[in-house]
Symmetry: C2
């Protein structure tokens, strides 16, 4: 992978994407949308984009950008466990909190725990980082945000691990450079609309004894009810070339796009 | 299917869901969320829920409700072509419009056409129906909404077919009663995490020469990176029982949930 000047992430500062991007050394730059990150990719600029999480599934904007853009590749995956905290100004105690700011998703995940503390007045805002900023300005409030955002904005943690369920979000490191070695490989493909067409693609993986770790379908947006598939399999491109799997796949697909093999930076 | 007292749809009044629900005679009742529609289902109340559209793909809240709830079935599908119009108060001319209200998705779809008319000041609101209401109150504004919403709120149509691309949305009629005959059948299933498990499910359809019309995967939310599959195939439950397909599927899946066969009310 290139040694990048710029590492673009989905802002605002203090977002989960920001925290993930910090796993890679370089000059971290905030972007206002996932598509903007893809716009910025160059020989010395890479991006960190969310691709999937355990509660909400795939991030469509990331999949659509990877599928439609040329010369964009995936090199690494970063897994992040999303732990939510309740945080306030350092001079505020839990007893004096009357309203709680956060993003709708985070409110949804923390509602049960917080209602047991008597907190039921939730105010939805655009992001958990925005919530942290607002909590800093308002002595009667707190924010649901990450520990990272709380620290960044100088907030005090009132309560930890307030979310229901396990929320792990996967991020991909995207660049202009293809990597052919790694633990897993990402491909996109389309198949003709005839019986057995998807079956014939999966059959190739079965015959090569290669496990699939993910498959998602998305509308192509060009022809109604035409789909593309996003598929991850275990093993690398170089291996799949050597065994003939990639050649065989190209014969049973209409379009086959190889997006890269990646290594994983594990959950922290 | 039951002759329902109540037909629940996702409001507000004038929404695309409302328009779809009117294809079925009965007492139409507004709900504030997709999950609330599922809550209301009873022996004499049915629901109309969006399930997929050509631009955005599946509607996750509908899939998750169908997968997790017991005794909820699909009986019909309603396809609606989403045509957007620019509409204003009857006493407003295009030249005097300085701002345009709509839902973010609709703004995105109509932005190209409207910018050619010199309209670039877009104000995002919660729904296209809300936009129509706001346009009625404000003489310098217009709304991007459906022809149906424009009519309902007494607006004048300034410009038709302002969206890019073809947006068809599919709605499902859901009830407490299983239908075993119809053009297509919906099933949900999970598979063990071993090589070839999805392949072995699709193989059954291939061997029976049954075409798949849709397949989506979604996180189960219980165990991280465990997925359930939403699959539609051509033909009815009664047919799939007769040929043995359903029996064979139950042997290669962990969980298999039959949600119903449906007939389609075509695009209008």
């Amino acid at each position: 992978m290139v040694d990048p000047d710029g590492i673009y992430y989905l802002g605002p500062k203090g977002s989960f994407s920001h925290e993930a991007a910090l796993k890679i050394e370089g000059n971290h730059i905030e972007a206002s949308s996932i598509s903007e990150i893809f716009d910025k990719l160059s020989t010395n600029a890479i991006g960190v984009v969310p691709v999937e999480n355990t509660l909400e599934g795939p991030v469509n904007e990331t999949l659509d950008n990877l599928y439609t853009r040329k010369g964009v590749y995936v090199n690494k995956r970063i897994d992040m466990k999303i732990d939510l905290v309740l945080a306030s100004r350092p001079d505020v105690e839990l007893e004096s909190v009357t309203k709680v700011y956060s993003h709708n998703h985070a409110i949804h995940e923390a509602r049960n725990t917080l209602s047991k503390l008597g907190l039921t007045n939730f105010i939805p805002v655009n992001s958990t980082s925005k919530a942290a900023q607002l909590a800093l300005e308002d002595k009667q409030s707190a924010a649901i945000c990450s520990r990272f955002a709380a620290k960044l904005y100088g907030l005090k943690i009132l309560k930890e691990n307030i979310q229901d369920g396990v929320n792990i979000t996967r991020f991909l490191v995207v660049s202009r450079e293809l990597t052919e070695v790694g633990e897993r490989t990402i491909v996109f493909f389309t198949v003709p609309d005839v019986p057995g067409s998807l079956f014939k693609v999966l059959e190739k993986f079965y015959l090569h004894n290669v496990n699939l770790s993910m498959i998602y379908s998305r509308p192509t947006k060009i022809i109604p009810w035409n789909y593309y598939f996003y598929l991850e399999f275990e093993g690398s491109i170089s291996e799949a070339k050597r065994t003939g799997l990639l050649d065989e796949l190209s014969k049973v697909t209409q379009e086959l796009k190889i997006v890269g093999s990646y290594t994983t930076i594990p959950v922290t």
